[in-house]
Every structure is written in C-alpha cells, then in structure tokens.
Subunit: 760 residues, 2 copies
C-alpha cells in the first residue's frame, strides 16, 4: 500500500552547525554539511557526487520489468522468487544479505458471492477482465481475486444502505436523516479513511455486512481518461486491500507485539482483535451501479453523491442484497530480504532503509517503482564500497514482504529484533512506490532540517530545478498562508506520519526517527490494487522514462550516506519543539472550537431552529444536545513545551560552538558518546504502555487516527480523547504527554552539556 | 423567468413609530402598525384579517389548471386568451381593468440544426418527448421548439471547446490551459449567470457559436430523481430562454427607453445592441453527451466537471460541430392586463403589484403559480371593497405579458407611463412563480422593516410557525455569522435586487422602491423553461396542496393593503443607511483584496512559482502580471454616508415624536405633503444619465451585474469599475454615488423637518 504524501514546510531554526553552512575561506564559498567537520564534509560531498551518478533509468526499467512480470502476493511462487532474486542482487553488489522468514495468517478467498435479490436481481461479476495490449493483465490463474484481506466469513441477506465514505461523521448524517444501518448491509465508497475503518464503524453501528466500491468520481472517468486510454480506473477495476484494524495494531493478527517466528505462541482467530466482525467485499463501479440504482429512501446529501449517472439514494427500501464470503484461513511464509553494509567506526548505529516487495497483483507502481529505486541505491552504495568508501555506521537495506495485508514483513521483523533495534537504530527511511512530480517528505521533525538539505542537492529531472525548489514553489502556490510563509523562509515542513506503510513498527512501536519519501503529484492514476497496476500501465502513464525513479534513488541514497557518515547525528530539536508547539496549539484550539460549536448548536436547539427548518415532507432529526466541554488543564503541557524549547536552544548553542572553525577536533571528540545518546531521542517520545485502547502504538507525538487509519493524529492521546469527549482521559493524556516532553528535554539538555564539554 | 431568492436579514434600527409597536393600554397589549395612528391601525388590522381569510387553495388550483392548460408564449393564441380571461376576472371582482398592448420584436425558430460532424457524427434531436400520464406534454403543435430568443441567425462549422459556465473567469482558466476559443463553437453549461452572458462573453473572446446545455449535476439526475419519477430534469429536457443582453437594457430590443407603441420609432435589427452577435442554441444533456464525449485536449479542471458519465475534456481537438439557426424576426403583440382600485384619500399615490402571465410553454410554475396568487389577492381586495373597505391610495394590479423574452411587458408599460409613474408610484411588488418552503424577501432597503413586519403576521402553512420565524430559523441555521447575528436581533435583511424579473423597469429604470417575494427552498425541480413545467408536474412535486400559494396571496395582499392604507408611508431610512454602509465597506474591501491578490500573484511570478509548478507534460501558462490597484479617494462616499446616517437618525427621531400617544392628529397632519416627498426617496438614488455603458440602468445602488446578469451588483458604478480595473472611472463613480446619497440625505432631512413641524 502507498499513500500520497503532501508537501509540508517549516521554518528553520537558527542553529547553524546542524544546517548546511556556507563558509567563505580564501574567497571560495564552500558548503559544509550538518554534523560534519570541514574535511569530513568535503570527502562526503565527493562520495555523494559519485553515488548520484550511478542510478540508471534503464536499470530501473529492467528491474521493474522483472519484479512485476507475474503476480507476487504473499504466498505466491513469484513472491518468493522475487525475494530470492533480490537476495542475489544484494549479494552480487557486495552486501551481507539474507532472507528472514515469518509465518503469518493470510486469508485468501474460497467463495465470493454478491447479489442484489430484490426488487430486481443482479449478480455482481467480481472479475477484472484482461485488457488487450496489456500482457500481464491476462495472467488470470496467478491473480488473487478481488477481496478484502481479514474480512470475516459470512453469509448474510439484508437491506442495503449507502453510507458515503463510511466514516463516523457519515453515521451522524444518517441519524439526521432517520436512517439506521442496524441489520443492514452497508455500501461505502473508497476514500477518506483507511479501508478497514469502514467495516469497523459499520459493525459498531449494527451493520451485518459491508461492500466497498470505487466511485468513478474519485478515481474513475470523472477524474480523467480510464485505462487503457488513460491512467484512471476502468469500470471493472477493483481496489483489493486489507481491512484489518491497523489502528489497533498492524502485523500478523495472531502475534501482536511479537515476531511471528516458530516459537511464538499464536492467538486463536477468535482472540485476534484486528479481524473484521462482519464480511466485507470490494467491488468495481460497474458492479456497484445496479446496487446503488436500486436504493430508494432519502436522496443522498450533496456531498455524498458520486459520479455514476444515477440519483444517489441512501436507502433503505426494497433493495436487498445477499453477500456470501468464505476464506481459506491459512498460514503463509513471508520472505524479508535483509542486506547489511557494516559500519566502519560505529557498527552499532544503524541506518535502516526499506520498501516492500510484495504486491496485490503485479504491482508495478505499488510497490515496485519504489523497490527498484531502493535496488539502485544498493547497487550504487555497493559500488562506492568497492571503490573504497567506508560508511561510519552500519547500513541495513530491507525488501519487506507482506506489507499489503497489514505491514506484516516490517512489523514482524521489527518485533523480532526489538531489543537490538531499540539499542542501535538511528533512523528508518521508507519508500513505497514512486511517481512523477514533486518530492513529498514526511517524518520525524528532528530530521526536518536534514532532509530539506538533501532535497536541495537533488535535481528535478524534468525541469532542471532542484527537487527542493519545486517543492517550495508548490508550497507557495498551493499551501495555506502559514505554509507559504514558511516555504518563503526556506524550510519545508515535514508531514507528520500516520500509517499506511512500513514505517509504523519503527516509528510508532519502537520510537525510531523515520522518514517517508517519494515523488508524486503529476502522476494521476486509478489502478491502485488492481490487476492493471502493471508494467504496461506504469510505462505508459507514470514515470515512463524512469527519471523520477533515478531521482528517488539519488534522494534516498544521499540521505542514507549522509546519515551513515555524519560525525555528529544531524538531529534538530528546535524544529521538533516548533512543530510540537504548533500541535499543542492545535489541540487547545480543538477544545475551544468544540466548546463554541456545541454552545451554538445547543442554542439553536433551544431556539427551535432545527424543528423550524425541517421540511415537513422530508423531516430531519435535530442533532443531540451536547454538554459543553469543560476547560482542561493544559499547564503541564505548556510547561513541558517551555523546557523543550529551552533545551533545544541550549543544544543549538552548544552545536554552534562545537562547529566553529573547521569543527574537526570538536566533532570527532563529540561523536563517541554523544551520538549514542542522540539516537535515543526519538525513543524518549514513546511510553511502554502505549496509547489508550492500543498499547502497540507507543509514540505520543505521532499515530494513525483510531477512526481515520491512514490519517495522522499528532499528540494522539490528547487529541483523540478530546474528539471522543473523554475529558478525564484528556487530562491524563496531557500529563503523560508532558512527561515524555520533559524526558526529551532532559536528554537534549544532557546532550548539550556533553557537547559543551568537548568543545576545546 | 424566475430566480430563487435567498433569505437576507438585517437588524432593525431603533426608531419605533416606523416599526410595529406594542403599546400597553389598560393592561392590554396592542399592536400598532408602522405609519398608522392607533385607530387607523386597529381598523387596518381588522380588514387585513378579513383579507387573509379569503384566498383558497381550491381556487388557486383551478386558476392554475385554466391558465396552464395550453402553451401560452408571446404571440400564441392562448397567451391572448389568458389575458382576456384575466381581464374578465378583474372586472368581475369590481376592478377597473383594461388590456394595454405593445408591439415588440419576438423571434421564433425557423430552422435549428446541430450536428457533430467529426470525428464521429451525431445529429442532435432537439426534441422534448411527451411523458405518459402528463397530458399537456403532448401538445406538440402549440409548443415553441427549444431555442434561445434573440440569438443571431447563423450557419457555422467549427471546432468545439467546453467553457464550463462560460463566465469571464472561465476564460481566464482557459488562458492558463493555453486554449483559445477564437473561431470555435463553445459549449457552456447553464448556471452561474444570466444565460445571455454566455454568448456575450463567448463572442467577446472570438467564438463563432454557442451551445448551452443543462448538466445533470446541476438540475438532472445528480440532483435528484428525474421527471416523471421525481421533480428533476429528464435527459431530454431543455431550458429555453432569452439571451438578449439584459444587463444593457431589457424590454423590446428595438425601442430602448420607450414604450413599444405604434408611434415609437424602431431601431433596425443591426442597431439593436441587445441581440447576440453569434448563434446560440440550448440543448438537453442527452444531446450534449455525444458532443462532450468527442472532446479531447486537457482534462477539464475539477470544478468544471459535471454529472455525465464521461471524462470532461476542454478541447479543442478533432471534435467539430455544425450549427445552423434561422429565425422569424417577427413583431408580436403583448397583452398586459392592468387593473385598478382607485384610492380614496390619495388617488395619485400608486401601489403597483405585478406578476407575468406569459410562459415559455405551459409554465405552471413559471409564472402561473405566482399569477394565481396575484389573482387571489385581487379577488380578496375586490371582496373587501365590496364590503366597504376603501384604500387610501390607488392600487394597480398588473398581469404582464412577454416577461420571458426579456421583461417586455413590464418594461414597455413602465417606459410608456414613465412620467406618471415617476410622479405617482410609491412601491412596486413583484412575484414570479411560487413554491414550497421559506419566504424569500428581496428589495429596496427602505422597505426592509415594513416587510419583516408583514412576514410576522403570516402563518407558514405546513408548520404553523410564522413565515418570518421559519425564515429567521433558516438564516440562523444556514447563514453566515453576521446573518445569524442579525436574525437573532430580529430583522431579516432583504436581498438586494439584480435582474431576472419584472421589477427591473420600476426599480432600476424609474427608481420606484420595489419588493420581490416568494416561497421556496423545499421545492426541488429541474423542469425550468421546459415542456414539463406544467400542471401535472406542479401538482405532483411542488406546492401540491396550494397552501403556499395561499400563503403568498396572504403575504402580498397584506403588504399591498398595509402600504395602501398607511397614513405615513412606512419607509425606513436607518435600514437604508445601514445596508448602504455595508456595501460601501464591501467595495473598499474589494479594492484592498485586489491589491493583496495582485501583489501576491506578482510576487509568485517574480519567484518563478508558476513555472516551477507547471507539469512539463501538461504545461500551463502563468497568469499575467497585473499592476497593483492605486489607493482611491473614498472620502466623498464616507462623508455622504455620514450625512445619510445623520438624516436617517433625525427622521427616526421626528417619527418617534409624531407617533407618540395615539399619533392620530400628528400622522393625519403629516401625510398630506410629506408622503409626496417620501415617495420620491427612491428616485433620489437614481441619475438620469444612468450607469457607465448602460444608461437605461439609472439606480446607483442596485443593478444586475454587467457580467452576471441575474446577480446583483450593489453600488454598481463603483464596484464594476474596480472589478474592471478602471481606476479613473471608479473615482468618478464614487463621486456620483456620493452625490445621490447627499441628495437622499437632503430629502430625508427635509422630511424630518416637515414631520417635526406637524407635531403638536
């Protein structure tokens, strides 16, 4: 799976040594890399230049052709074949590589039936036909049928109700319309949430089945020309995908928090809380149209109407559907390919970089377009090592299996190696497919300044501008007033990370500072998780010349090298404090806005406004009276933010002193003990007991939303307690959050003291 | 034609005598009408109660059945037949009634051909088929074919370009996409402007033909179930309508500013500036789909995409269309029915009330649903007169002909009677069809407080609340923050009037204070100007029980009586000053916003942002560099506003004194000379030389937008000069506007002096 990342932006702090410096020596301007002494920086820049010369569009194309040649989902022969081919590549390039296996629950369909049984009959086709000219689309015997992994078995016949995107707010709207889904089968459209949210919320409201379809408004003909004439979803295209309750925990549903190795005890299916409670099936818009057209009841609210040439009704009415789903609840083996280049000076500090290799079908875009960039990086790094480059730190490259069903390969590996990763992992860098356009940058805010610097050194292949410059222009043109201001002050803020790809276990379970990178925004498409995401589609409609694949390999390869070689780890705590400061203001504003909103609504209820505006022929129900939220004690959070800001300033000041002159002696002395402390800084933002309702998620700054799934919730404990109106919990979470921020401030202050101590 | 009016709202001033007063005398609360002494108010309220008991849903239904039984467009036999039937009604009810005729240019189609000639062929059907069960839909021989009146003749074959709604901003977007319409035929969808704007703007950009279609997103299946299953537009439904350049002048194109009577000289067709320069044809969405589907070129911007199951492209490409239109450029006779109840005390003060009777086809909703309410008012007023009620002023009821082609009947009549109307007309009250739901109130702000009071006395028929209360609830629930605040402070602001119905000649040409009233908002529909706007449709989908027809007759009947009988005309100048004050702030903000917008855009141009964000595969052109607007001298306007506010306050204070006690002597003394002055107050807001580019429009506060047509532009001279970046003109217009406001302030001050003079 891959989720488009939006461009963020942020203003740099004022510390200099952590940012790229331009020093005038003998009249020559020179760029000094953050965390590097002058000599080390010069050497690094030379090696980086060599690295960026290596990735080749032709190699990228041929790797994609090979890896996407056949369907390669978890458990398929070609999935394992690809893993072994990848293993051989790494080894050929001089890496110490191995395959690690895990045995996980991965259900596949045994029976799929969906029919409209009244007032007219229609049996859904549930088939994606081959497209003439697209050779891999006809590999029917190897393709997984369209389905939602981890759907419950079921055989239900019930009235149909349309629930828009199927998120909680949609059910509030249904309440206003007087429509209940109790005992009904709901039909929801894809989008606006992780797909697993839709059956979860439907079941919470009493539905007995769930159908998810791709509306042509969202990624079909209404968005643009459809495949094979264009990149968008054809009438029969279906989005496969997992519906496990990923916001509770990702990975193998039977081994939460533990690697799915032979010795690990398994939960029973009944005990696994991330399986859906009701049967779920994804369908095409060709199959959806007869179902939706059969609905009566209220006309769907304007925002709910899609692009089909029908009147959208909510139901219920005469329309009844029969849904029968049976799955093979089998265990399959994952093949994670793990390759290592051992560090020269600090072998126990790891830079980890990954992209998954499994796909739902052929997966040329998702995930192979990212996997081939990773491969080019590995080839280039191997080549540099052969030429004599020695990374200071250990570099670990991972081609994950089983990401599509639920981040299985990365999660099981991270869980199995938890102790070692807790100790050694410095940074995790993820990609998951790649397209054309602008560099999207998400991740931990301690890396914001660092990755901005990297982006400045990468050429956008189609315009000749730097990748950073294009992203900046986009933030100025399309961003909010605040984003525009930050971009003009020369830092692009990172998007905080929710879920949707393999960073989750690293960032949110283990507290490893993470990045997510990829090019996109000029690469429309509607073949996501269908049989049409293949080499033919990619080479006709996406990064057809593979120049952005090359740019991605250059971007991530540079980031990996620069992190691996830095004398002082280039974390920036001022950016961290500034961003968390913004989030703190947001949650306080959220509470104030709720208070205003409820007060206004209650006043309208008292004034009889809803009754007076309800159409007597189409009556709507007034929303409920909501008690106004109390004022909460945000003082602990604000005090902790003060400490965090002060410690960050102290660290900046120490770093500036340490970097003075050529920085050589200072930075060399510093890196011995200090880096070991710095690499723990992201860990300090976690708590072993995790978030309320979901202990697997330990990070108190970033989490996927419990009811959004992909979408991030920053300061999730506090924010979701306010959203769920649990005021007592909100205060507890404010205190827990203040606690981690104080711990973080203490670590940063200690690092500042140590850095001051080494300055000659 | 009829345009849905939005609810406005406004806070009352503080003057009391002009608003309804509640006086406690001997413990009994009593309502005193504005402009009435205590005795007169009591008598009036009694008569008004009798009036409101008369209108009957059954009579409304039978009148609609009769008037919509056959097509009755200008020049048709049933148009004249209806006029004669209406005449007979008025006479039967005791009115002094007559038919006035005018001879006007009214073209009808001789030949209509539209075909796609490449890359595939399609010949548009241009036919609305009868619907089974709907008897009048099959009256084919009497129906006008679907066409746009005052389209030029033409025979053109050219590439097709899709221009969205065809308003000026859409052409800016085409410039960004690098698409020109020069030499092309454009296809625009209905909506977002008076339809005559579309060919006008297309011709300004060099197009040689224009097609206008009804997109199903806007009023077809995407909006709701289509006729006959529901109220919305079926696939073959076509919106007929005039495309004359109404914002230049309405009425007969050959006699601008003069009544089209036998002696009036006519312009030649070539001299008539309101005829379109290119051929124009309206079509159904069934006919539009093959044309739009044949387009290639850029995918249409997201906001341009409609509800057809295709990818919307802008063109141009291979798609070429052939459009051939020929018209009979004939003169036809209009039959305006004019009925009078002579005033008892002030026969030379006229309250004029109108609704048109002509339709495009059967026109049950537009205009008959309003015409039948007018008839019920006339029946009721006639009945009261028979019972002994004597209106103080003269009441003139008008059933206009020829509104659909361009407000012909009302405009020619107002032009023909200009001198008399200038002297005598107090108020013009318009309706133009009626539906279900909320009372919409638009008009001159001097009447804001008056019509709010009337609405408080009318029962909403389906909820039992007052019509005012429902409108207030709607403003609170759906309005802006400011509208909500005003509504809660108990005045609903009037919508300022643009164009689209018969008030134009009265308000904007002659300066007669006007009102536009109607119920709507719970009466969906998509049969506007098609053969399906008929008795069957109306009685199945709109005000099926005619209870809102009754409410409209009660509302307007009450307003007419109350204006006709008031001792002191109930104009409120504080509301006028407050509203014009808001508009003054708006135009100043408009200039500031333009300055900010251009400055930001110019900065982005200097930064290269547009070039850096242009997709190299789908390049877009940067917008042009715009010089920033200068600061303008608004001081004359602000000084004039000061005078207006002060004079309004003086008048309020005088009116309060005059109304003290039972007010009887004061008000009686006052009304003799004072009312004659007050009825000139709206005239003071006009200038004989009119607006720039369009001298027919003389009102300096309200006008239809030169590039919107329906939509109002308040302070049009100033506002449009700023919009068109004519800074010199803007300053001239500020001074002209300040001039009328000072004249108005002088009149009001003089009225206050006179009112003070009579207070005992």
């Amino acid at each position: 799976m891959r989720r488009a990342s939006r461009l963020g932006d942020w203003l740099w702090g004022t510390g200099l040594v952590l940012g790229v410096m331009t020093i005038t020596a003998a009249g020559d301007p020179e760029t000094r890399l953050a965390g590097y002494s002058a000599d080390a920086s010069r050497a690094e820049l030379e090696w980086e230049g060599k690295l960026r010369a290596i990735p080749s569009p032709d190699t990228l194309r041929e790797s994609m052709r090979r890896l996407s040649a056949r369907p390669h989902h978890v458990g398929s022969p070609y999935d394992r074949d690809n893993a072994e081919w990848l293993l051989a590549r790494f080894r050929a390039w001089g890496w110490d590589a191995r395959i690690e296996t895990f045995d996980v629950l991965f259900p596949t369909p045994k029976e799929r039936l969906l029919e409209l049984v009244g007032p007219v009959r229609y049996t859904a086709r549930l088939v994606e036909p081959p497209v003439r000219g697209d050779p891999t689309s006809s590999q029917k015997s190897e393709q997984l049928p369209s389905y939602n992994a981890y759907s419950a078995d079921g055989d239900v016949t019930a009235p149909l109700v349309y629930v828009n995107y199927g998120v909680p707010a949609d059910y509030d709207e249904l309440d206003r319309l007087g429509v209940s889904v109790k005992g009904a089968i709901v039909i929801a459209r894809y989008g606006h949430s992780w797909r697993g949210i839709k059956p979860k919320v439907a079941a919470e409201h009493g539905a007995v089945g769930c159908i998810i379809y791709s509306d042509p408004r969202d990624d079909g003909y209404a968005a643009g020309d459809v495949f094979p004439g264009g990149p968008f979803r054809p009438a029969d295209g279906v989005q496969r995908g997992s519906v496990q309750d990923m916001p509770s925990y990702p990975g193998d549903p039977l081994t939460p928090g533990k690697g799915a190795t032979p010795g690990t005890p398994r939960l029973s299916l009944a005990e696994a809380t991330t399986l859906t409670r009701i049967p779920v099936l994804p369908i095409s818009y060709r199959d959806a149209q007869p179902l939706l057209a059969a609905l009566t009841g209220p006309t769907a609210p304007e925002a709910w109407r899609g692009g089909l040439p029908i009147t959208y009704h909510v139901g219920p009415g005469e329309a009844r559907v029969h849904l029968r789903l049976k799955f093979n609840w089998d265990t399959h083996t994952l093949y994670d390919v793990i390759a290592t280049l051992k560090g020269n000076a600090a072998p126990d500090e790891w830079i980890v970089r990954g992209n998954h290799h499994d796909a739902w079908v052929n997966g040329a875009e998702d995930p192979i377009s990212g996997q081939v960039a990773l491969l080019e990086e590995a080839r280039a790094l191997g080549e540099l090592a052969r030429q004599g480059w020695k990374p200071r730190r250990t570099i670990v490259y991972a081609a994950w299996d089983g990401e599509e069903p639920g981040l299985l390969g990365s999660t099981e590996w991270a869980e199995a190696h938890e102790a070692e990763l807790q100790q050694k992992a410095v940074v995790y860098i993820n990609t998951d497919g790649n397209g054309r356009g602008f560099l999207g940058m998400g991740g931990s805010h301690t890396l914001e300044r660092f990755i901005n610097d990297v982006a400045r050194d990468i050429s956008d292949p189609e315009t000749g501008l730097s990748a950073w410059k294009r992203a900046q222009a986009s933030a100025i043109r399309f961003g909010t007033e605040e984003q525009r201001k930050s971009a003009r002050e020369s830092v692009l803020r990172l998007d905080p990370l929710g879920s949707g790809s393999d960073w989750s276990a690293f960032l949110q379970h283990l507290g490893v500072a993470s990045l997510s990178l990829g090019y996109g925004g000029e690469d429309d498409g509607g073949i996501y998780h269908s049989i049409y995401d293949d080499f033919y589609w990619y080479t006709h409609f996406s990064d057809t010349s593979f120049v952005y694949g090359k740019a991605l390999a250059q971007t991530v390869g540079t980031a990996v090298m620069r992190l691996a070689d830095a004398e002082l780890l280039p974390f920036d705590f001022t950016a961290l404090a500034d961003n968390i400061g913004s989030y703190s203001e947001e949650v306080q504003k959220l509470l104030t806005d709720r208070r205003t909103e409820y007060a206004e609504r209650n006043r309208q209820l008292d004034e009889g406004v809803f009754a007076a505006t309800s159409d007597p022929r189409r009556p709507t129900t007034a929303p409920p009276h909501e008690p106004e939220p109390p004022f909460l004690n945000f003082a602990p959070l604000m005090n902790a933010m003060d400490s965090l800001r002060h410690s960050a300033a102290r660290y900046d000041s120490a770093a500036t002193r340490a970097g003075a002159g050529d920085g050589a002696g200072n930075l060399k002395a510093a890196n011995a003990g200090l880096n070991a402390r710095l690499l723990q800084s992201e860990r300090r933002l976690t708590r072993p007991e995790g978030l309320p309702r979901r202990s697997w998620y330990r990070h108190l700054i970033y989490a996927p939303g419990y009811y959004t799934g992909y979408g991030v919730k920053t300061l999730p404990g506090v924010r979701e307690a306010i959203e769920q109106k649990d005021w007592h919990l909100a205060e507890t979470e404010i205190e827990r959050l203040a606690g981690v921020l104080c711990d973080e401030a203490a670590l940063i202050s200690q690092a500042a003291v140590e850095l001051n101590g080494v300055v000659k």
